[in-house]
Structures are given as structure tokens and as C-alpha cells.
């Protein structure tokens, strides 16, 4: 079956602009995670959804970052007033349910802020 997909694969924007990154999880997966991977680093947790609600947003770096999952499937990560330090690969993962143990990752969106 289809895996986790993320669009766009690459996004180049200018400092101060607004961007949206999309994640399509595996069909039927109720848990969805966003991570950010900076160059030379491992992925860092941003936010976790169980169904439509953000159950844990403790990893969001500041209030410029926001994520939604209105229908419990597709999720959008939104970044306002982008800064050069936001440049990274943003990874999305989904999991069948809480306690399922395995997260399936998408290929990521590479965001470059000029």
C-alpha cells in the first residue's frame, strides 16, 4: 500500500514569508508525528496528533509554528514569519494507534529560507 507522503518535497522561501507543509499519512493511521531534522542532526520531535487533536505540542520551538489535522487524516504544518534558522528537513510519521510502536516516516520536505 501507499506510504506516508509529504508535499512539497522541496520548498524555498524568503525570510519573513509564510509556508505550509503537508503530510498524508498511511490510510487508517490515527497517530501522526512531525519531526524536524537539521543538517547533521537526528530528527527532533515537534508535535503529535491522536486523531484530530494535538495531544503533545511540546516540541514546537515557538508560536510561529502551528499544525492542524482537521479531519484526522492529512496534517499541515504551518510556519509564520520564517527565519533562516527554520531551514531543515521536516519529517512526518504515522502509526496505526497509540502503543503501536512503529512509526512510518515520509520522505520529508526540505525547507530552505533565504
Amino acid at each position: 500500500g501507499a506510504g506516508v507522503s509529504q508535499t512539497p518535497s522541496n520548498k524555498v522561501t524568503e525570510k519573513g514569508k509564510y509556508v505550509e507543509l503537508r503530510c498524508d499519512p498511511i490510510s487508517g493511521h490515527t497517530a501522526l508525528y512531525w519531526y524536524r531534522q537539521s543538517l547533521g542532526q537526528g530528527p527532533e520531535f515537534l508535535i503529535y496528533f491522536q486523531g484530530t487533536g494535538a495531544a503533545d505540542d511540546s516540541g514546537l520551538p515557538n508560536d510561529r509554528f502551528f499544525a492542524v489535522r482537521p479531519e484526522g487524516s492529512v496534517s499541515t504544518l504551518k510556519i509564520q514569519r520564517t527565519e533562516r534558522g527554520d531551514s531543515a528537513v521536516y519529517l512526518c510519521a504515522s502509526s496505526p494507534m497509540t502503543g503501536s510502536d512503529t512509526q512510518y516516516f515520509g520522505p520529508g520536505t526540505r525547507l530552505t529560507v533565504l
Binding site: 547533521g40 520531535f45 495531544a55 503533545d56 503501536s100 510502536d101 512510518y104 516516516f105 520522505p107
Partner: protein, 115 residues
């Protein structure tokens, strides 16, 4: 807070040689441990995981890992590497907070294979 340390940033091995990638974790309770592999332009792929039971776990692509509680380690091994194993390898520990299993990753080890 939990943490994961991968002491080797970059490892080079010859094709056909054995491989061991190190991982040390810090976590209060019994950890859930994972190894993921990331090839250029690809998403993270799960190689293997440890939750409980037998401390030697087998994964895909001929990889195995051994959980050693006394050493807080979960090292990844392969008896004979192939050129296609060249990639970035990440060790991760799972934390259950608010009922979710968010992962904390190490900084990764880049594996280069030479002919």
C-alpha cells in the same frame, strides 16, 4: 529527560567486513529502542526494535542489535556489509508522554562502504 548518544559520527568499512554501530541511551524506565536507516533522499526506515524479552533482536537486511541494560547500550551489528548498506543510521528511544511514543534520536552515524 531521555537522551541517545551515538559516539561515532562517521564509520568506513570494507565491503564484506563486519560492522558494529554504537548507541548509548539514558532513560529512567525500561526503554523502547529502535534503529532506523536513512538513505539519501529517502525517509527513515525501521531496521529493528526492542521492547522486552530476548535482548538480541533481529531486523531486516541482516542486521541485529543487542540490548545491554548494564551498559545502557543498544549496538547495531551486521556480520558482512554490502555496498548498499551505505547510509545514515539513527538510534532512537521512545518515551511515553501523554500516551504518545515520540522518538528521541541520536545524531546519527554515517556509514561509508569501500570496495
Amino acid at each position: 529527560a531521555q537522551s541517545v548518544t551515538q559516539p561515532d559520527i562517521h564509520i568506513t568499512v570494507s565491503e564484506g567486513a563486519s560492522l558494529e554501530l554504537r548507541c548509548n541511551y539514558s532513560y529512567g524506565a525500561t526503554p523502547y529502542l529502535f534503529w532506523y536507516v536513512q538513505s539519501p533522499g529517502q525517509g527513515l526506515q525501521l531496521l529493528l526494535k526492542y521492547f522486552s524479552g530476548d535482548t538480541l533482536v533481529q531486523g531486516i537486511k541482516g542486521f541485529e542489535a543487542e540490548f545491554k541494560r548494564s551498559q545502557s547500550s543498544f549496538n547495531l551489528r551486521k556480520p558482512s556489509v554490502h555496498w548498499s548498506d551505505a547510509a545514515e543510521y539513527f538510534c532512537a528511544v521512545s518515551e511515553k508522554v501523554f500516551g504518545n511514543e515520540k522518538l528521541t534520536f541520536g545524531t546519527g552515524t554515517r556509514l561509508t562502504i569501500i570496495p
